[in-house]
Symmetry: C2
């Protein structure tokens, strides 16, 4: 089995994980958590989102969080922005990188962004251009890449077209999301083999969800093709909204454990990561679904 020697794990817990939490977590605890994560060897942390607080009240303190964390120069601090207003706040808060997002399926995009796919492009184009003018790198997220909760299967050519349009705008990296956790290893293998005809693997990240327990299996399918950038959420924070209590984001600690056991370098200290993850457990409603956290807590 041929696998990459090094993998980059990008931590999305403080944004993608926390945004699903119903109880407001105090700003100071978010800051402390991000500071702890910054010391684990994680090279990249998505710390918040500059969407309007009306949509995600949990992240209304985006500017405070961004300004008050202790920046580790070895870490890239990113934040999600939906539009120019969000970008202005992100620039004010001086994040290193901005993330834009859209869906590969029309219905999910419409429900999530309230625009058709074609209507979404000009909004994102404006953000990407302005962000680059400010010297920020830009990451794109495409959701429902492997399946849509409304439409079911998503046409692969439609996904590739969305990816191509985002790269054409000048983004640096694309994160492909299995939003509802329906991807299977055979599908991942077939789709990523197709994708490599169009895009460089150095610019593609995989964002798997563990809703059906296949996130690590899908990760290995991608690794076998040489893909080497993966998103994770500490402790698996961020449940799936379609099934309360079910798993959403793959857990960074489970991912890091498996990679290191397979002799793949990630640069992340597993023990420090588990300690940092324990910190946030006290402030969230449900038990974190991560297997490693479960074992860690019993020790």
């Amino acid at each position: 089995m041929e696998l990459p020697l090094d993998v980059t794990i990008k931590e999305v817990g403080p944004r993608d994980g926390l945004q699903n939490e119903s109880d407001q977590i105090p700003t100071e605890n978010k800051i402390e958590w991000i500071n702890q994560l910054s010391k684990t060897g994680l090279p990249y942390i998505e710390i918040t989102s500059f969407v309007h607080p009306k949509w995600i009240p949990q992240l209304k303190d985006a500017v405070e969080v961004s300004k008050q964390i202790e920046r580790n120069p070895d870490v890239t601090y990113a934040a999600l922005v939906p539009n120019m207003k969000g970008l202005e706040r992100a620039i004010e808060a001086d994040v290193d990188e901005v993330s834009i997002f859209m869906s590969a399926s029309e219905t999910h995009n419409k429900k999530n962004i309230n625009k058709s796919i074609d209507e979404t492009y000009p909004v994102l184009q404006e953000v990407v251009e302005a962000a680059r003018k400010e010297g920020k790198s830009v990451r794109g997220y495409v959701s429902t890449v492997f399946g849509c909760p409304y439409e079911g299967a998503v046409d692969e050519n439609q996904v590739i077209s969305v990816c191509q349009n985002l790269f054409d705008m000048g983004i640096d990296e694309l994160s492909l999301g299995d939003t509802i956790g329906v991807a299977n290893p055979l599908q991942v293998d077939a789709f990523l083999k197709k994708l490599e005809r169009y895009f460089m693997k150095d610019h593609i990240a995989l964002h798997f969800h563990d809703t059906r327990g296949m996130a690590l299996a899908n990760t290995v399918a991608a690794l076998q093709l040489g893909y080497h950038i993966f998103d994770g959420s500490a402790g698996g924070l961020g449940g799936c909204p379609y099934a309360k209590g079910a798993t959403g984001n793959v857990s960074t600690d489970d991912l890091n454990y498996m990679l290191q056991e397979m002799n793949i370098k990630t640069g992340i200290d597993q023990s420090e990561l588990l300690k940092a993850t324990s910190y946030i457990q006290d402030y969230v409603e449900n038990q974190l679904p991560s297997k490693q956290m479960n074992i860690f807590k019993k020790q």
Copy 2:
């Protein structure tokens, strides 16, 4: 990605799952559960264990369960036996197949069976010979194949030697257990490639535990090499004794879902399997860890 067209899933929940339950489950409910499982398309169910009730009080009703279930002629009903006394009861109860067991690591074998590995062989040899004389097929379980809770790594040649000795006794199939869920896909790939030099894949089953979330990833690693027999426990029943609440056996429903999504035939009706699994949920202490059950319950 090349995968087998057909996979055999062997259900071990009524034995391997229930044996970890502390509250005694009424015999009639076990029987009803096995009867329901028998109608799902599962080709094989390990229904109980004929170990002395002193060791596993939960399964003290082994004879009653075996005699009172409705036998589906398309299902092989198996039971675990540790010695000649257990075999006598299993024959009295007329199971179709008997399973014997031992560990690949000295310490685990000693703690589990109270004998060294070399002292274990003659006991098992006697059971296998007597079982075959009665026309029963025999399955062997080897535990701690991919790691031992006491010794850590287990020498691959030691595992192969144990397997060889069991096949030499005349067993029909060997189930290789990742007892503490430490196997990773790279290790599975390397070990199974070595193993295929010695044994036919048609006689080797993989028994993965999901303690660290890698069971499905390990399954795919084995499938890619053409291995096609896997054990599962309905709902993931049977927690890991080393971490209360943590996952042990891979869930049959998660396994069956992934295989069918990859166009692999198992013959098991997923919806019937989930219904049967829901039945036992009411009689066990903890929420079943299966992802599919979690989604099923929300529907």
